[in-house]
């Protein structure tokens, strides 16, 4: 009998990613240059952090190595999510041009198709500075690494990745409501990454709490990292929140999946 089940989503995703990579590889020089540029741009923030610490010993109570650790984990989680999920950014264009119709006539997951859209290997460029920073931070940190701390550090990057991927999907959902709301969508993704690169305390208490409970990006790296770095919470929030990241990540991923389903249902298509 013919297998009637649709192709498994992640497999469809990888197939499409391979096609897009091969498409991008048709323009090798451009690929090499843009990949290098992405790496360079991603390194600029790092320089600014280094410059700040030539003037101060600590920033909001955090040393250079500690800030490097926060920045490195955030960058790594975000760069990985950018690699895997930022294809969804182009969904706004495909809705506007009506090419989203073509996504809907395929017998595979719509999410797999839009996440893989326009995939390009140049995004690997962003991973390199992130890894370098994290390695640097780990060598600089005067920490006694217990198995629990190692586990939390690893989980930090993983849950951060899931949280950012969920934010990518949610930002894609915004495109279904307002096609020209790309800037709003960017606030969620790039904005939340920016907000977690530094110790959260630099934003002050109201914004810090908003970034914890409204847009829960504090759980990407801030909360678990307080545990790893052995810091008390400057906002005085309860200790169990240090370990809440996986729960928050799972909740946000579920919310993103539901929102995506709802968005596809309300898709209106264009003229012809």
């Amino acid at each position: 009998m013919v297998d009637e089940r649709p192709l498994f989503g992640p497999r469809a995703y990888l197939l499409l990613v391979r096609m897009w990579s091969r498409s991008a590889s048709q323009y090798r020089v451009s690929l090499a240059f843009t990949g290098f540029a992405q790496m360079l741009v991603a390194s600029f923030d790092l320089i600014s952090i280094a410059v700040i610490y030539t003037h101060v010993q600590t920033l909001a109570g955090f040393t250079f190595a500690e800030t490097l650790y926060l920045y490195g984990t955030t960058r790594l989680a975000f760069a990985a999510s950018d690699l895997v999920a930022s294809g969804i950014e182009s969904v706004a264009d495909s809705i506007r041009l009506g090419t989203f119709d073509l996504v809907l006539i395929r017998p595979v997951s719509t999410l797999a198709q839009v996440l893989a859209d326009q995939f390009t290997p140049k995004r690997f460029g962003k991973l390199i500075p992130a890894v370098v920073t994290l390695v640097w931070a780990l060598t600089e940190l005067p920490l006694h690494w217990t198995p629990a701390k190692v586990a939390v550090a690893v989980v930090t990057v993983l849950t951060g990745f899931v949280l950012y991927c969920s934010l990518w999907v949610l930002s894609g959902c915004i495109s279904f409501i307002a096609v020209d709301a790309r800037e709003v969508a960017n606030t969620f993704t790039y904005g939340s990454e920016y907000a977690t690169e530094y110790p959260l305390t630099i934003f002050g208490r109201p914004l810090g709490l908003a970034l914890t409970f409204v847009l829960p990006v504090a759980f990407v790296t801030w909360q678990p990292s307080l545990y790893v770095l052995g810091h008390a919470d400057p906002f005085g929030l309860p200790g169990f929140l240090r370990f809440a990241s996986p729960v928050i990540a799972a909740l946000l991923a579920g919310l993103a999946a539901l929102a995506w389903r709802g968005s596809v249902r309300r898709y209106r298509s264009t003229g012809s």
Binding site: V2, D3, E4, P6, L7, A12, L15, L16, M19, R22, S23, Q26, Y27, G98, T99, D101, L102, L104, I105, R106, P107, V108, S109, R265, Y267, R268, S269, G271, S272
Partner: protein, 277 residues
């Protein structure tokens, strides 16, 4: 592999009279919000498809015509599950399109004349290989089908060329193949001959007629080219302002005048065709 392309007439209907496309009172209303002041918004409704009834038997080749904005594309989009109907009943190949969209996708093939589904920067062949994987087409069947289409549509000379380098006619032949590799029971063609030269048009028409006769695939053809209709369709469904203006045999439509005149009258609202018959 005695027969590489399966016939759909027998395969898809338990009882012969069962229509493969069934629409009853199919309606699609779009709601638009218009800004009327700083915060106030005005709602306005537009009915693109207005209580359409349509029954298509397996193996029919139907010309679906109407002026721009009549609701043709909206109908096709509901039939494929792209759009959710506002009201009415709809079944295609035994599925409710919007709810069973993913499962229905394996049974339908869609060609958008003005858009390509092929991978722009990659050799034409690569798009086909991807579709084999996405649709889970068994390798033997895929090989047989691909051989057939290479022969029938003369794809051989440009199979290894990137799609961006193909002529419009070559690209259209590639798109048609892409829509058919998985043996769909229902095929929607939205202006498949648009922009093609006379020779390519002829080739596409001959191919479609042959496809319909050979595989028994049901074909719904949207076009503005009256030649397409005259040469291919035995039945014509014309819609205007979202309603069915004519549904019947081609011969009846052009009984006393040429088709182009009849269609023009239909489009300009001076319909002289007896729609009750």
């Amino acid at each position: 592999m005695t027969e590489s392309i399966e016939r759909h007439n027998e395969a898809d209907t338990s009882s012969g009279a069962e229509p493969i496309i069934l629409a009853e009172g199919l309606t699609k209303t779009f709601t638009a919000h218009k800004r009327a002041g700083l915060l106030r918004r005005e709602r306005s409704e537009f009915t693109a498809v207005d209580h359409i009834d349509l029954r298509v038997a397996p193996g029919e080749l139907v010309g679906y015509i109407g002026p721009n904005g009549a609701g043709k594309s909206t109908t096709i989009k509901m039939l494929t599950g792209i759009l959710t109907p506002t009201s009415g009943r709809l079944r295609v190949a035994g599925f409710e399109p919007q709810r069973d969209r993913v499962r229905l996708a394996r049974r339908i093939g869609v060609v958008f004349g003005q858009r390509t589904t092929l991978w722009w920067d990659l050799p034409l062949k690569d798009s086909f290989t991807l579709l084999q994987r996405l649709y889970k087409i068994p390798p033997a069947k895929y090989a047989a089908n691909l051989d057939y289409y290479i022969e029938a549509l003369d794809l051989g000379p440009f199979l290894d060329r990137p799609v961006r380098q193909l002529s419009l006619g070559q690209r259209m032949r590639g798109d048609i193949t892409a829509a058919l590799l998985h043996d769909p029971a229902v095929v929607y063609l939205d202006e498949p001959t648009i922009g093609l030269d006379v020779v390519s048009k002829h080739a596409v028409r001959e191919f479609l007629r042959d496809l319909n006769q050979r595989t028994g695939a049901t074909i719904l053809l949207t076009t503005h080219d009256t030649d397409d209709i005259e040469r291919l369709c035995s039945r014509v469904v014309a819609i205007d302002h979202g309603r069915v203006a004519y549904d019947g045999p081609l011969d009846e439509l052009r009984a006393d005048r040429d088709l182009e005149t009849v269609v023009r009258e239909l489009y300009t609202g001076r319909s002289l065709v007896d729609t009750t018959g």
